[in-house]
Every structure is written in C-alpha cells, then in structure tokens.
C-alpha cells in the first residue's frame, strides 16, 4: 500500500504548490516528500518516526488564535503549513492542500507561536497505536482528497478531527493496554491492517460502518475477557447510548487513530459540546435512543407541530417508573440517580443549582469509581460520565451551562497525566470539580454582585423577572449596604418562581411590588432598571433564558429602561441562536392546562382528549442582543457584542473552563 500511496500523493502536492501562495511549501516539502515516501515504507510500523514530527510541527505551525474564532479557520488552522515539516509525510501535504484551498491567510500566519496543544503532542510521542491507524487514515483520505479537493475537503477533515480527538485519550488507553495485556495488542495490529487495506477502497460511509463493527467487536472481546460477568453487559448500555450524539461517538472511534493529534484542543472541545441536540422528529434515532434509554417514557401524542424536534413525554409515569427500578439500574451511580430524579421532579430548578447538583453527584460518582481491570481510567470514566449524562438528559434536557460543565469535566479527565495513579487521578478530578464550582459559579456570583451593585443607586425601582439567584444576591447585597430602592418582581405562569424571590426579599425587608408578566408594560413606566438572570448567552449575543425574559426585555426597551443581564461566564456558549423555536425545552403541558378557574374543572376533563387542543409549555426563549444594554459577568461589565470575544479569548487560554 505504501508504494501505491507514493504516486498518488505526488500530483496532490503539486497542486498544493500551485494553489496556495505559500512559497515555502513547494520548496521544502517536495524534497521531504521524496524522502518520506521511502522512509514511510520503512517506518510506518514504527511508532517513533512520527513523534518527532508531531512535536516539531505543532510548536511552529499552529496559528495561534485565528482558529479559535471562526469555523472555517479552525478547520483549516490545525493543519500545519507544510513548509518546515521535514518528517511530515504526505498527510502533511494533503492537509496543506486543504489549507491552501480554504484559507491561505491562515497558513501564512503559520510561523507565529504555538497555542495550547502542547499536551496533545507531548503524550502522543510514546503512543503505539498511532502509527498504523495514521497510515490507515491517511490512505483512506486519499481518494477523497485526490479527486475533488475543493468540494470534499471538509468531509475528510471532519472525520479526521473526530479521530484526532480520540487520539489522545485512546492513545493513552492503548498504552496502558499494551503494558497490561499482550494478546489484545497483538490482535489489534492484525485487525487494523485489515481495515487499512479495506479502507483504501471503501468510501467514507463504508469506512465508518467498518469502524462501528470493529468497535462492537472490540467491546465484545473485552467483555469476554473481563472477569466479572456483569462487565459484559455493563459497557453496552452506556456505550450505545452515546451513539445518537457525535460528541460521544468521538471517543469511541478508537480503531482508526490518525496522526493528526496536532489538531487544536479547541476542535476537541467543539466536538465535546452537547451541541447537536437530538432532533426528536428523526424517527430512527429516537427509536434507537429509546431502545437503550434507562427511563421508560412515552412520547406525548398531542404535540405542537412546530416543536416536533423537541422531546415531550407523558408526565406522571416517568417518576414512578424511575423510582421503581432504582435498584435494578446499577449502571447509574446513586448520586447521579438522585440528581436525575430531582431534575425530573423539578425539585432542583435554576441553572446554577442544577449544575452544582450535577457536579456534586459526579464528584461522588468519581470518588466511588474504581477502574475495572483491563481498562483505562480515562476511557472508562469518560464512558461512565457519558452514561450518566445521557441518563440526566433523559430525565430533563441539559441546560447549556450544564453542557459546559460536562465539557470541562471531560477535558479534565482527558488531560489527566498518564502516570497518575487511580486515587490520585480521582482526587485531582474531584478537586478540579470543586474548583470549578467555587471559581466559576460561586465566586463568579460574588464578583457579579460586586459589579452590579454599583449600578444601583438610591431611589431606583428595579424590575426583575422570575427567579435568578444572582439577581437575588444583588438585591439583597444592595439592601445590606444601605441602598434605598424598590423591587418590582414580575412573575409568570406556570412555575411562579417569582413568588419564591418575593418571599425571600420580603422577609429580608425589601420593598417589593409583585405583578404578572402581562402587566409588565403597565409597571414599566416607573421602573428605572431591569435586572435579568440568564440560562446561557450565545456568541451572537442572544440571551437564552426563562421564557418571558424576552418580553420583559422588549417592553423595557420600548420604555427606554436599561436592561442588565447577570450571567456567569461559564454559561457563555459559542453556539448561535436566532429564535426560540429551534432550541428549547418543552415543559409539562398539563401545567398550563390546569388553571385556577372557577368553572373549569369539568370542562377541562372533557377537552383533554381533543386532538385540536394543544398546550405548549415552553421553558426558554431567546432575547435578541439589541434589547440588552449590558451583561454583568465575572469578567466585568460588557456589552452583548463582547460575548464572542470572551468566549474566544478566555476559552483559548483555558481560563473559561
């Protein structure tokens, strides 16, 4: 196969030189290629040949910041400029081609200092499994790249990226395995060789199918090999549960690991985001998910047409179902189980509270975790966490902030040094989680309070909507330091969270006015400032928050009242959102149907089964950035236009998460 690859690669390289304006690329890599062609034939099986190149490339060639910001660049950016890579083989050139056709500027920037992928390349050096799968991947990507580069560049890259994510964790796992048991290692190269030869001919879809089959086979083999009988059944429910979501699939795509470990961390994160929310109008996927779901729930029948893509289940039987088989669900840690039940029952509401509860449960679960024999902690723990997360999702769709927290946790797991012992690793993970809760949520709230209180002057009338714990803290603190102001609490059905806030404020002696959301334009005339909480803020400045927030912000805007949004920076999200339809959560429709109306009782009973009558209980809405005057975060007070900047700058430096 190697001789075959050589001739194939040459025309491509020529094209690189032709397309891109980068001068060094035609000059330096060509001799290299000619060198590497034969060299590869020799070294393709040896693990060492790649490691220097990987280390060599990444410091020099990764453009620093561009790929953090925009999609295109980020796809192209991790691809190193071919120039200095003396040991880079065709793949480098292959990538350079993509760079050239996509974004020449990026590759021109290639000489600037490296970004954050030091850790990736560093542990990749010692990896055993890389080489082969690299070449396999490489050869697989040729047919695409060679024929129609401009059109299909993206597809191979995507797959490469996915694979690359797996590379770090997987590589580590293989390392452990190699030391642990010889026979699996011995079996693997054979398998991979097989796939390699297969992949050369197959299309992308076919390749993926093969991967899947391989993965399943491996899982089965492992299950058999393991001592405990329960083991074999154990990985299964957790693993397939991840399939609907690519981000979970990624770590599983083990068998073909490419040498593209130099892909930026940012890319891995992107794959890790629970961004591809399951579209529930996709029948096949829903069925798949249903088969492995822990919670038995029936889709409610009378759904609003616009929201078919969101899950909506018949309430009432979920909780009994779940609590009845509490002892049979051994795959879910009891702490996580408890949090899931609390989410389902609505005992924990509010984004921060939910996030903290979830993280504490994970902490507990990690503490109780023991790595099963013949498994790698990183891999297995990630799989476990994934299982927990999918369980939590079944209980209630995750909020954006929880998604961010999970991402953080997975990053931490992935970044665990290989040589750490299990108790150490667990301790470090738990302390990291604790640090996240303290720094990103609790301390951030304190900072936000300090900032926001400067915006409250004597004699003001502050309006707030629903219940936000940050806003509550702000109001209480402002009251404590002696500001004289009045609070207007706007509330809405069906949750009536405002009453909770009202209760707390009134007992603390604040002067309150309580009203409902319909009256907001009546009361807005006397309001001087609006304080709102947030569930998430997207990078286009859209505020994603409890439904009704947009109404309040809009009316405030119409009355020229400044709207101040208080949001911890960990809730920022790089997704974008325009409307409230595409991404939302459906609550219990019965909560709306049940109305404290005098003569309603018998009426509603008869109407319940009518196909024409639907109740829509939206949980969130999105407020356009134009209604927001200011966002108070732990990084200071910023306009909504600065959200993408914060997301980009701080996430790059790993400060955000």
């Amino acid at each position: 196969m190697d001789p075959r690859r050589g001739p194939l690669a040459v025309p491509k390289v020529r094209r690189v030189g032709f397309f891109t304006s980068i001068e060094p690329s035609p000059e330096t890599p060509r001799p290299n290629r000619s060198l590497s062609g034969p060299a590869e034939a020799i070294t393709s099986s040896s693990p060492l040949s790649d490691s220097p190149s990987g280390q060599f490339i990444s410091p020099v060639q990764i453009p620093p910041s561009r790929h953090h910001s925009d999609n295109l660049a980020s796809r192209a950016a991790p691809v190193p400029v071919p120039g200095p890579s003396a040991f880079r083989r065709q793949l480098a050139n292959d990538r350079a081609l993509h760079v050239g056709s996509y974004n020449p500027v990026d590759s021109l920037l290639g000489t600037s200092p490296p970004s954050s992928n030091g850790e990736v390349s560093e542990d990749s050096g010692s990896l055993f499994g890389f080489q082969r799968s690299d070449s396999a991947k490489l050869s697989a990507s040729f047919p695409n790249g060679g024929f129609d580069m401009t059109l299909r560049v993206r597809a191979p890259q995507e797959s490469e990226a996915k694979v690359a994510i797996a590379s770090t964790s997987d590589g580590r796992k293989k390392n452990v395995e190699a030391s642990g048991e010889g026979e699996s290692v011995a079996a693997k190269p054979l398998k991979e060789k097989e796939t390699k030869s297969l992949k050369e001919k197959t299309s992308k879809a076919e390749r993926r199918a093969i991967q899947e089959a391989q993965r399943a086979a491996k899982a089965a083999a492992k299950g058999e090999g393991s001592k405990r009988a329960g083991e074999s059944s154990r990985p299964k429910p957790s693993k397939p549960a991840k399939q609907p979501q690519p981000k979970k699939e990624a770590p599983q795509a083990t068998s073909s690991v490419s040498e593209k470990r130099a892909v930026s961390v940012e890319k891995e994160r992107r794959m890790d985001v629970p961004q591809t929310q399951m579209q529930y109008d996709d029948k096949s996927r829903v069925d798949k998910a249903k088969r492995r779901s822990v919670v038995e729930q029936t889709e409610s029948k009378n759904k609003v047409e616009l929201f078919l893509h969101l899950p909506q289940y018949e309430r009432g039987n979920q909780l009994p179902n779940l609590s009845s088989n509490i002892f049979s669900l051994d795959t879910i840690h009891h702490a996580v189980y408890k949090v899931g039940l609390q989410h389902l029952a609505g005992d924990i509401a509010g984004d921060n509270a939910r996030c903290i509860a979830m993280l504490h449960a994970f902490q507990e679960a990690i503490n109780d975790y023991t790595t099963p024999p013949m498994k790698d902690l990183t891999m297995d723990l990630t799989a476990k966490i994934n299982g927990y997360v999918s369980f939590l999702i079944e209980c209630r769709p995750l909020s954006m902030s929880m998604g961010n927290a999970i991402r953080f946790l997975k990053n931490q797991i992935r970044k665990l040094p290989v040589d750490l012992s299990e108790p150490e690793a667990k301790a470090s993970l738990c302390s990291e989680i604790g640090r996240f809760i303290d720094e990103k949520i609790l301390l951030a709230d304190k900072v936000i309070v300090q900032h926001a209180v400067t915006k409250i002057r004597d004699g003001e009338v502050l309006l707030t909507y629903g219940f936000s714990c940050v806003v509550e803290m702000i109001l209480l603190y402002a009251h404590e330091i002696g500001r004289k102001f009045r609070v207007v609490i706007v509330d809405s059905r069906p949750n009536l969270e405002g009453q909770k806030l009202l209760r707390r404020l009134v007992t603390r002696g604040l002067d309150c006015t309580y009203t409902h959301i319909n009256a907001v334009s009546y009361i807005m005339g006397e309001v001087t400032r609006v304080f709102l909480g947030a569930s998430s803020i997207f990078s286009n400045g859209t505020l994603y928050s409890k439904v009704g927030t947009a109404c309040v912000a809009m009316v405030a805007n119409a009355f020229s009242v400044p709207v101040i949004v208080c949001c911890e920076a960990y809730k920022f999200h790089e997704r974008v959102l325009l409307d409230s339809i595409c991404s939302n959560e459906l609550g219990d429709p019965d909560a709306i149907a049940n109305v404290p109306l005098r003569n309603n009782k018998k009426h509603s009973k008869t109407m319940d089964n009518n196909k024409n009558l639907q109740f829509l209980n939206l949980m969130y809405d999105s407020t356009p950035a134009e209604y927001i005057s200011m966002i108070v975060t732990d990084y200071g007070m910023i306009p909504p236009t600065s959200i993408p900047v914060i997301v980009r700058e701080y996430r790059r430096e790993d400060l955000l998460l």
């Binding site: 907001v520 009546y522 009704g548 009426h603 009518n610």
Partner: protein, 478 residues
C-alpha cells in the same frame, strides 16, 4: 335624504373641529400622586383605593333631577348603576346593550315638555348617562352609548327642524302649507330671515362659496344644534312633532341596539378577506368578536392554526381556546410569557379591543401591549376588531394608568401567605408589598396595523374621522 346627507357633511366638518378643541380642553393632563394606585378618569376623579374594587362601595344617591322620571325607570337606573359599580357586567358589548336598553326606557318614559323637547330629552339622557359613567368610568362603552343616544336625539331633532325649515322655504314661495299657523310667531330673538339663512346654509351643498358665506351667519346664528332645536321646535305643530321626535329617537335607539347586537356578524363577514389558508394567528384574552371572526373564516373552509395566549391572571384565553376547539379549530394554548417566542412564527395577531380611542389607540385586555410590541418587532400585522360601540370619541392621556382598573391581588397571590406584608391602607409596615393586577393595557396607534369595525377596515389614523360620524361634539363632555 340627499339634503340630510349634505347637511350632515357640513355639520360634521364643524363637529370634528369642535371635537378636537373640546377634547383638548377636556383632557388636560392630571398628574396623579401615586399613579397606579388610583383610578382616574378625566375630570371626574373617582379615587378608589387599590383593593376596594373587590368590595362593594357604598351607594350614592342619584342626582336630584331623576325625579322627573317614572319611579320604575329610576329604580332600573339604580339597579344598573349598582351592577356597573360592582363590575357585575362583563364585556363591553353586554354593557353597551344594557346601557342602550336602559336609555331607551328612559326616553320612552320621559314626559317631554311641549317646548324644548329635544333639549329636555338630552338633559334626561345626560343625567342618567353621567350616573352610569361615574359608576364605571373605565367601561368606556357606557359613555360611548350615551353619546350615541344623545347624537341620535340631536340628529332626529335636526332632521325634523330641517324638514320644518324646508317647509318654511316652501311657505315663502307658496302659502298653502298646513303648518302655516305655527309659522312666524314666537321667534324671540330671531327673524325669519336669519332662520331662512341658516336653513339655506344647511341645505346648500358645501361649496367654497357656501363656506365663505356661512361664516358670518354662523356667527350670528349659534350653530349648535340644541339652540337650533330650541328655536325651531316651535315652528312645527307641537303635539305631532313631540310625538314624532320621541318616536324617531326611539326608532334610532332601536337601530343602535340592533347594530350593537349585530356587530359580530358584520365584523365576522370580513374574516375571509383577512385570513388565508394555513395561517397562524395569535390572539389574546377572550373576545366574542374574535371568536366569531375566526369561526367565520373556518366556516369558509379556511384551515388555519390559532395560538391563544392564556391571559393570566384571568385565563380568559382558556375559555376562548375551548370555544374554538368546540368549533373545530386547531388551537394551541401558550403562556403569556411565550408570546415573544412564538410571534416569529405567527402570521397575524388578532385582538378584540375593549375600547378604541379617537387617536387610534386601543385599550385591550392586559398583555396586549406586549403582544403588539412583539408583533411590531417581527413585522407581524396587528389587527384589532372593534364594534362601533367601542369607538370612544375621547383622546386619551396616560391611558395605561388613567383608563385602567386594578383588580384584586388575590388573583396573583394567596392572601394567606403574604397577608401580613400587604398594606391594606391601614397599617404602615415598612416592608410594603404591593400587588399590581391591572385589567387593561393600552396599545398606542403606532403599533396597530388595522382596525376592523362593522363598517370595514380602517387605519389607526382614520379612526378620529370615523368616530366623528357617530358623536356630536357637544356631548364629548358629559
């Protein structure tokens, strides 16, 4: 008929001017001390503490001049006033119907003096109307209907007068009219020539010459209809004219009743012009007009989807939704807070108004302004349905507060929990919890795309002119 039409045109041109002037005088800004705890209505200041509305307020004795009416009429008036005061009558259409029926019986039972019948009737109606308006100042339909009735009286009177003047003109030419005996005598301060000039100016088509010529005449002849009626009522045969006037007025009032009763159908007839297939319509609160409108479109085999905002805290939307479903419409109930989220998928917002002001502003169920703002933001047409009895000739000042009514806080909060925090006007506890529960919302005309009344569709900017057709300028202040 043609003469009458022409006469009306000239007359109304002047009236609309008067409407402007008097409205400007009437609606002088009042700055309330604590705006939303008080209910203000123009210069009839009725202070009602925030929570007293749920309790019945003491009954005031009716003004003195009701002694002229028959006792049963008086008791009817009292009963109706009580109902209004206790907010027993729901909906402006029901109120309007009750009011106009009451006024009809007032008119029919009123013993008309031989002289000045029209003004006597007007006084009687005004007296009753003042009581009714004072009983529920925010129910503008009452005032509207009273003004409509007054307008009918004036109009009938004028038409009789013009008929008489026409007869007069005829008399000048040929002396064989039957009314000759009543003519010429008893004009206290007015010569026949002046009357003739007045008549001429009314009868002639409104050309530029008429307008120029008419200016000095209208200066000498007071042009308000009451004085005209005052003088001219004597021209005709007293008994016959008396009977005729009253009869005509009652005819007119009956027509008004008919009109109010039939405004739903009139409006609903236009539904097919505005609702097309597969439309998504958002509505808010419960309005019979909207219900009929939507159902009319449904009957015309248009299939569309309706989103109904539930309209907390009264949840009128649920009632409407059930009605709609019972008639086979695809209905989705959403929370009020989801209005902004859903409006981007809505093709049209259709709202039933509580009242339409002369500037084109709308007073509607609470939450309407929010929906209107959201509709404006998303460029969704905001359509207001209003029967003609909802057209109010007044120009609003601060209507969110002054034309609003605060309902019981028990609809929002359970009394038990927060009762020690609530201030009932007696205690002065420092942590004062106030509960604001307004009934109405004001939508400025700039947010309204279209009005659909029983006479057709209109722009907000046209409403003042439409309204001027229904009312006399003299009645704006009651």
């Amino acid at each position: 008929n043609y003469k009458r039409y022409l006469y009306q045109r000239v007359f109304l041109e002047r009236l609309s001017y008067w409407a402007f002037v008097s409205a400007a005088q009437t609606l002088r800004p009042i700055k309330p001390p604590a705006s939303h705890y008080l209910v203000f209505l123009f210069n009839s200041v009725s202070l009602s503490p925030e929570y007293s509305l749920s309790t019945s307020s003491p009954h005031r004795s009716p003004p003195s001049h009701s002694h002229r009416k028959m006792p049963d009429v008086q008791s009817m008036v009292l009963e109706f006033v009580n109902k209004l005061r206790k907010r027993k009558i729901e909906g402006s259409q029901a109120t309007a119907r009750c009011t106009v029926e009451l006024l009809r019986s007032v008119i029919s039972h009123h013993r008309v003096p031989h002289a000045n019948q029209a003004s006597a009737l007007i006084d009687a109606v005004k007296a009753v109307g003042a009581q009714l308006v004072a009983a529920n100042p925010v129910e503008l339909a009452v005032g509207n209907v009273v003004r409509r009735v007054l307008h009918i009286i004036r109009e009938e009177d004028l038409s009789l007068a013009t008929a008489a003047v026409a007869g007069l003109d005829l008399l000048d030419a040929s002396d064989d009219d039957e009314d000759v005996n009543g003519k010429g005598i008893g004009y206290p301060g007015m010569s026949a020539a002046v009357v003739a000039a007045a008549a001429r100016s009314t009868l002639r088509p409104p050309s530029l010459q008429t307008l120029l010529e008419g200016t000095p005449e209208s200066a000498t002849v007071p042009y308000t209809s009451s004085s005209g009626a005052d003088s001219e009522s004597k021209t005709a045969d007293k008994s016959s004219i008396t009977r005729k006037l009253k009869h005509d007025v009652i005819e007119g009032v009956n027509q008004l009743i008919h009109e109010i009763a039939g405004c739903h159908e009139q409006i609903a007839e236009q539904a097919v012009e505005h609702i097309h297939q597969n439309e998504v319509i958002l509505t808010l609160g419960s309005s019979r007009t909207v219900l009929e409108f939507l159902c009319a479109a449904k009957e015309k085999k248009r299939s569309f989807r309706v989103f109904v905002a539930e309209g907390a805290p009264r949840y009128q939307g649920h009632l409407l939704a059930k009605e709609l479903v019972a008639r086979g419409l695809q209905t989705t109930v959403i929370t009020d807070s989801a209005v902004f989220a859903m409006i981007s998928r809505v093709n049209m917002v259709i709202i039933g108004a509580h009242a339409v002001m002369a500037n084109g502003g709308v007073i509607g169920p609470v939450g309407v302004n929010m929906a209107a703002l959201a509709a404006k933001k998303h460029a969704v047409p905001f359509v207001v349905l209003a029967g003609s009895h909802k057209l109010c000739p007044l120009y609003p000042h601060n209507p969110e507060v002054l034309l609003n009514e605060l309902r019981s806080p028990s609809e929002l909060l359970d009394f038990g929990e927060f009762s020690d925090c609530l201030d009932f006007g007696t205690g002065s506890g420092s942590p004062l919890l106030q509960v604001v529960n307004p009934t109405f919302d004001y939508v400025p005309p700039s947010l309204v795309s279209l009005f659909i009344t029983d006479t057709g569709g209109h722009n907000p900017s046209y409403m003042y002119r439409l309204i001027a057709d229904y009312y006399s300028a003299d009645d704006l202040v009651m």
